[in-house]
Assembly symmetry: C2
Homo-oligomer: 254 residues x 2
């Protein structure tokens, strides 16, 4: 499926996690914030580049962006709407909720490098299992910026011990979509009490001989919204990403 | 010289280009803008990451930053002060000119990777010649952001033809300090009429068998100031950089 085809399917009502969709094309997290928070968010992203690599920023009120020719209000599979930091609803379309003062940020997503992991022989469990990737709030604080603060959120993929090094090497070449893992093994050292009970997405099986590997996650801005309580914000539903018109290869380093 | 020692020397009045200073430590461009332009600048940087890789942002009015323990008003060798986009003065100290509404941005500088070039056997002419690096305004436009627009500025190093590939390879590992060249050979194709007459810095000899290689340059924000004419701005004097407390290795990718 091309990005355009995938977006049309989501616009028509398909609500699924996007891992495995449109291989070769970059997927992105969405966070749309009132304009008066836009500087704080860009600064938060600059200070937390592992979790918040900004790929594109729409003009205030605009609903497309240079790497996303679709409509940001309809072309993602699902959205989360926050009022005063509380999750108010999860919906498939935010056309009626969009406001002229919203600035939409597209933040890199680790789904982007999964094709490279698979090519390198590293299995990706949630793709095999056809479920959402597990994501966890950690006890690591992001560097705050202005009115925004919050914990680092991570995604987890179980990796066979002999392939952990390969997984690090492959993903480190994609810093714009979270890059190398932030943590290998020991979920408890990240403050994750139960790896089988993710805060977002679905639990996946960790088989004998596999190590849980954690990457910074673009749900981090939504954790900052929950902590910092801006009056209004719209994000993607975790795992239900914006599929952009940018090729993965654009974000590959040397 | 440690960064602290170099900064003390500049604070005491030494006014020299900083290429070759404090090898192993990251050098940075300074641009300080009124707070109401801070979002436009961060967005300009996000849209022009080759020329404007932001390493750090100070809080409004603050004169140090997380990677720069010194005083941004005194600890660079020289500054340029702009009023309504016109270069008003070049001075060694801006203590009396600093304002509470200024936001200081530190932007990566290609001097940072020169130690790696030298280690790889690539000569660096302006270091040999003990002069400033030549820098040029090009005819390539940056992507504008809000009220900011302007041309790409590049620095140039003549590289022996057989080492151009090495120079590309080595510098591509430092995307946070401009990374790989934006252009190799053919200065005229960048709109540079006379490579011996740089717009900033000093001309250097291009010897037979050498190719002029161009990297994006952190003077680009000052070119945007000249074009976009904000009421007030302070930058470093080209080539006279902020020497930070961050090690080069922090910005190395795989």
């Amino acid at each position: 499926m091309t990005p355009e085809q995938a977006r049309a399917a989501f616009r028509a009502g398909l609500r699924v996690p996007t891992a495995g969709y449109s291989a070769g094309w970059t997927q992105a997290n969405l966070i749309a914030l009132p304009r008066d928070l836009a500087y704080d968010f860009l600064l938060f992203a600059q200070r937390n580049p592992r979790s918040c690599p900004v790929l594109d920023v729409a003009e205030p009120g605009e609903t497309s962006a240079s790497i996303f020719a679709g409509d940001l209000r309809t072309d993602l599979p699902a959205y989360r709407v926050y009022r005063d930091g509380e999750l108010a609803e999860e919906v498939g379309d935010v056309t009626d909720l969009w406001r002229a003062d919203l600035v939409a940020f597209l933040v890199g997503c680790s789904f982007t490098f999964e094709a490279a992991l698979l090519e390198a022989g590293v299995p990706v469990r949630h793709v095999e299992a056809e479920c959402n990737v597990p994501m966890y709030r950690t006890d690591r604080e992001c560097r705050p910026a202005g009115r925004l603060s919050g914990p680092l959120v991570v995604s987890m993929r179980p990796v066979p011990a002999e392939l952990v090094s390969t997984a690090v090497r492959v993903t480190s070449r994609y810093p714009a979509v979270h890059g190398a893992p932030v943590h290998v093994g020991s979920p408890e050292a990240l403050g994750i009490a139960d790896v089988d009970a993710p805060d977002f997405g679905d639990a996946v099986e960790i088989r004998p001989g596999e190590v849980p590997v954690f990457w910074a996650c673009g749900v981090t801005p939504q954790a900052a919204v929950m902590r910092s309580r801006p009056s209004f914000a719209i994000g993607h539903a975790p795992g239900h990403m914006a599929i952009t018109d940018a090729r993965n290869s654009e974000f590959l380093v040397p």
